[in-house]
Symmetry: D2
Subunit: 286 residues, 4 copies
């Protein structure tokens, strides 16, 4: 299939390469220059319009603003091939996802939300988990592509925003798992149980899940090289807060974790891994 | 080995039966009468002193106050056989555990903390996880007994309080996992993703761990038959708060979850499963 | 001056009567029928259009939705007299205030935000505090009217939303004062200091301010007859939360108080006075 | 009367001088040397025992530990004159106050808790507010002395801990007032209302009380020269948290403010005025 790919960061590059490996023609565009050697099999194009002159286009851009700037304000989407299916793979707001759905419908294009769970190494290994929502036909057409990238594809419904909400809620739950480990380590540590011993116990018993296993070593070592940058994590917690406000529900742990991350970003940790919120509590005793 | 067992609730009964099955002589005592048919192989004794006239005694009593009342205030512990190893398997406070350690040392008895992770069905299947801490010799002697009860025994050190702190921190993390699911379900639900779909996704990807898998079905069904009663869960969160205060550290998610559970207990849910804290947020929309 | 007045609840009625007393022709309209005897001097009109065919119109409607429904969706504002100055005296959202400003400018009407601090008795006594913001000329024209209603008029700037933000922040601070008293009473009460003794001490020393003095007697008596209904208070805390989100700042006490009020409204206290959030903590010990 | 005075910090010096001015013989002792010129009329003694060889002794020491060290561990209290009335004027924990009450009763001494509200300038002007609790006779004897120091004396009961709890709860409420202003300023500021304008409005209307008026100028200027040091404020919030734990009640705003202050102290603000917790939120936008 002829596929456009917009946004070649770590995640996007890995995904584009896997699509090419599977035999697709991938025309990829990035705002800043990309070394073609890093995306073997992928054709780098120098205009976003070329990437949109395809059957299916993925966008893996940072946030609402990046999509708005690259596709809408630039006028680029006006040049899209008729019938194009546009897959947004990044974490964007529910409000913007609804606006995109309306806008694409008006243009006669299909819009599918397909945010992914997994870090760059999972993307490279084609072991992402993809949640997908959008018009039934379009989702049916692109599901094989998503399967190329992932361990499993999770269809959630016909409204793209369903997938965005699930992704935002999932990311929120990851921050809660990180902070839970951090607080557990703090209590155990003050009572003579070392962080590695405590987290081995937890991840070896009740919490033997990826969300815990991925971050426990960072908490133990105190090495918060990203990974997923805290400033992006904070953005996602703000998206979750927007959803809570819109739903008129109060989520006290979300409030507590967002406050914690907000303080950490203020303290200059925005470029570190989001698990860096764990760095304070038990550091105090040293 | 000759073993005493004090406290035959659901957990205690299952553990006593498994010790008997393994060939030990188990002399068990309970405050209220127990049907012997429910603890096959176990000898019911009618005085706590008989249970203490053994080589090793387990106590599986509800809390600090129950141990204080049954063993200390009653004078029963004064009758213990010389050299007795006393294993406290319940979740008690760190402060009381330290007091017990000092008191037993004075009496020439050995005191070991061995709180367990797992619900009654895991106890029955001998699939608990046991954390253990106490004097080296005593721990070495009783480890085979603990192995009889569990999938794995986790030695944490020579100070009994180390095991209590780890258990309290672990229980705290379970409540955080429950509330995290609850808040995730609330966000997803308000955006058209059903609770079962969302939790299947979460427990099938990032959160494939027992702490999540055990409680997700309760959250989906809204059936909060215990399980582990919320009023006991709240007690454990108070123990965690005491540790945080003693350490002079601030744990904002602990504060938020304890507030949540406190409100739920006030609202009359104390006898339900502690996962009942998940019952409010998305119920509001109905 | 010829004045329209839309919305004759407790607050609106008192304000309309005071305007009439000051010698103005007041043409007032309310959605549900009003007994003319309760608003002496005020002319009740049976069409909102009549109220808008004036030089100045006050609206004292519950929230954004009520204004939208009565003035915009109904088309009524299309019939407004040219040059009309529209004073919105209720607490509305900053976002809606900005939309009203743009909409009125397009229509050639003047829009002024003039939310008031004070309860119905203060309104009746013409002892409100009015914060006002809007176009300079319009504010100059109506300031004498506002002075008729109040102890003091506080001009905040030329953007109507400035007054709305200040009002929302002020209401937020009142809920914090209520909860602060509630928590103080809880601590003192558990240590043998009665609620009335403690609050006499506080309001007689450090907290001798209306926000405290108004609510202390309600907390002491446990009589939460409104006053200002909790469901409206919760609405205002949601408006504050929206502002915090828009500003990308984290306000932890706002989060805590909103959670507290959310729980109380869920528990069925929405129609009681907002100081009813104080009813739980020390009630538990009884 | 012959009065001992132990602890000549800013508060203690001002109080000792006022007692001397009123015609009493004041024998004062301080751990570090004091310039006699700064405490006119007061006799500086070089042994704590001399200060305890009096009819009444005030102690104005920093915390539980200081009292324990100066009076108990040193053995000094063993030398106290028979029938001595000991007035503890500082903010100490309820638990320690109860221990002091029992200890003094055993020794045949009278112990009265008389913590004060007011900063050094109020102490110098004899305009403190004193809360007092203790044995009826002793309180009657010393009330004239307390009146010498204060605008008003507030008797709370016969258990000294009643006064300590009220003082702790009052200090807690001050931190809540500071944070409330801080959050209000943050919201208003992001919407174009300057901090000084907003706080003039608040302290000129609903919040015209000393707790607000004292700290508003610090928040506006950003000058957090103490005043009352934040590390001492945090100590008092920990005392409040201990009381909440002991009472088994959940105080969510206390949790939120303590977290906020804990973070600020961690960030190095412990020596600044406790109103420095207001420095972050609106600073972010600059």
């Amino acid at each position: 299939m002829q596929i456009g790919f917009i946004g070649l960061g770590k995640m996007g590059s890995a995904m584009a390469v896997n699509l090419a490996k599977a035999g697709h023609q991938v025309h990829a565009w990035n705002r800043s220059p990309v070394d073609a050697a890093e995306v073997p099999g992928v054709t780098i194009v120098d205009s976003v319009d070329t990437a949109l002159d395809t059957e299916v286009v993925f966008t893996m851009l940072a946030d609402d603003a990046a999509i708005r700037s690259v596709l809408l304000d630039s006028g680029a989407l006006d040049t899209a091939r008729a019938g194009l299916i546009h897959i947004v793979a990044a974490t964007i707001s529910v409000a913007f996802s609804k606006a995109l759905a309306a806008d694409h419908a008006e243009r006669g294009l299909a819009y599918v939300a397909a945010p992914v769970f997994g870090r760059p190494d999972a993307a490279a290994a084609a072991q992402l988990n993809v949640v997908v929502a959008g018009p039934e036909d379009a989702v049916a057409t692109i599901t094989p592509l998503l399967e190329t990238l992932s361990t499993k594809v999770w269809p959630l419904g016909t409204e793209p925003a369903q997938a965005n909400a699930a992704k935002i809620a999932g990311n929120m739950m990851i921050t809660m798992a990180i902070e839970a480990m951090s607080e557990g380590v703090a209590l155990a540590g003050d009572n003579g149980v070392a962080a590695d011993t405590f987290l081995d116990l937890m991840t070896g018993t009740l919490f033997g899940a990826r969300a815990y296993q991925s971050y426990a070593p960072k908490i133990v070592s105190g090495d918060f090289t990203p990974g997923f940058k805290m400033k992006l994590g904070l953005k996602d917690l703000r998206l979750a807060t927007e959803l809570a406000d819109a739903a008129q529900i109060t989520l006290p742990v979300l409030d507590a974790v967002r406050t914690r991350m907000d303080v950490a970003v203020d303290a200059g940790m925005g470029e570190q891994d989001w698990s860096g919120i764990a760095s304070r509590p038990y550091a105090r005793k040293e």
